[in-house]
């Protein structure tokens, strides 16, 4: 698992993937996104060479582009996707604790987060926190909704719905 974080600038993805390609590394699942002016890359890569070789390969590029580089040998592999069956949307006043409260209630109800995206919308003096979570749970939508309703937070709006994946 390769992690790269640094101030965003054009060409990071191209430079990193070109370097990996030339050194014979294959790309797997990846998440790359700009967060608050930084560009973040988390990427599974494989090759016969090990984690140390990967670090050697990327170090000069990371230094040149001012990216923090971190490499972990992991046991994961491809084709281990879990398909989410539940979606949770949260909107509320932007204040500390909202994420912890909602995810805490969900975890207690047996909900496993697969993906979480959050952002702050609204105008500057009235920010609205928006979070979209996809995950997997054996419990029903109603049971999970009851769990988050139990938080009893008047200015947080949480809606739980089923993710129905159409196969065709």
């Amino acid at each position: 698992m390769l992690t790269l974080v640094g101030e965003d600038r054009p060409g990071i993805v191209a430079a990193v993937t070109d370097c990996l390609y030339r050194e014979g590394w294959s790309l797997g699942e990846a998440s790359m996104i700009r967060l608050g002016g930084n560009f973040t890359i988390m990427m599974m890569v494989t090759s016969a060479a090990g984690a140390q070789a990967l670090e050697r390969v990327l170090r000069p590029l990371a230094d040149a582009m001012d990216l923090r580089l971190h490499v972990d040998a992991i046991g994961g592999g491809l084709h281990r996707h879990l398909v989410p069956n539940i979606q949770v949307r949260v909107t509320g006043a932007d204040r500390a604790g909202i994420v912890a409260k909602v995810t805490g209630a969900l975890a207690q109800a047996g909900f496993n987060i697969l993906e979480l995206e959050s952002d702050v919308a609204g105008v500057e003096d009235n920010p609205v926190y928006i979070m979209n979570i996809q995950g997997y749970a054996e419990q029903t939508v109603e049971a999970l909704q009851a769990a988050v309703d139990g938080l009893n937070e008047p200015d947080i709006d949480v809606s739980v719905s089923a993710v129905d994946t159409l196969i065709g």
Binding site: H79, T91, I130, Q134, V163, L166, I167
Partner: protein, 177 residues
């Protein structure tokens, strides 16, 4: 009857547009029976299109009746289907028999109207919405050589954000704050 082989990516045949059906004979009906058997043999597919089974003809099967609380027309065989009206749009997650081990988000029309022939060549018109409309759009795409991969969107799309945000605002207004 037979279970047919499903083409999977990156098979180039999945990218070809299919030909209209002109002959409504016993051969067509027997292929449709095989196609349905193939759909049922796979992992819970609500639809299947002929080109997925290597037959480049405009034939799809859709059946969402097994899904709880879903408006549906039951088991539908749509030959030479044409979507004639689209309305609204909705984000939903899709997977495909021809794209193993991957699902993604796709925007589809919420409501559609379509005309299609049945296995005997008779013309019918349908109006449908929601999950069933999504399934038909997914299958008709196969006839035009398109996969849901060609329509993937990020969940961070404008459409989605705006919807959530507006909901929040409306609720606030209702509450009078």
């Amino acid at each position: 009857m037979a279970i047919l082989d499903i083409l999977t990516i990156p098979d180039e045949r999945l990218k070809q547009a299919s030909e209209p059906v002109t002959l409504f004979d016993a051969g067509l009906r027997s292929f449709i029976a095989d196609l349905e058997q193939t759909r049922q043999a796979g992992p819970a597919a609500v639809g299947i299109a002929a080109p997925q089974a290597g037959r480049s003809q405009r034939i799809v099967i859709v059946d969402v009746s097994g899904r709880p609380k879903t408006a549906n027309h039951g088991y539908m065989v749509l030959v030479n289907p044409e979507i004639i009206r689209w309305e609204g749009f909705e984000l939903g997650r899709e997977g495909c028999l021809s794209v193993p081990d991957y699902t993604g988000n796709v925007i589809r029309a919420e409501r559609i109207e379509l005309s299609a022939q049945d296995p005997d060549g008779q013309f019918h018109e349908y109006a449908m919405e929601g999950f069933e409309a999504r399934a038909v759009q997914h299958e008709v795409d196969h006839l035009d050589g398109l996969l849901f991969l060609d329509r993937l969107v990020s969940r961070r799309t404008d459409l989605f954000r705006r919807k959530i945000y507006q909901k929040g605002i409306q609720r606030k207004e209702k509450g009078g704050t």
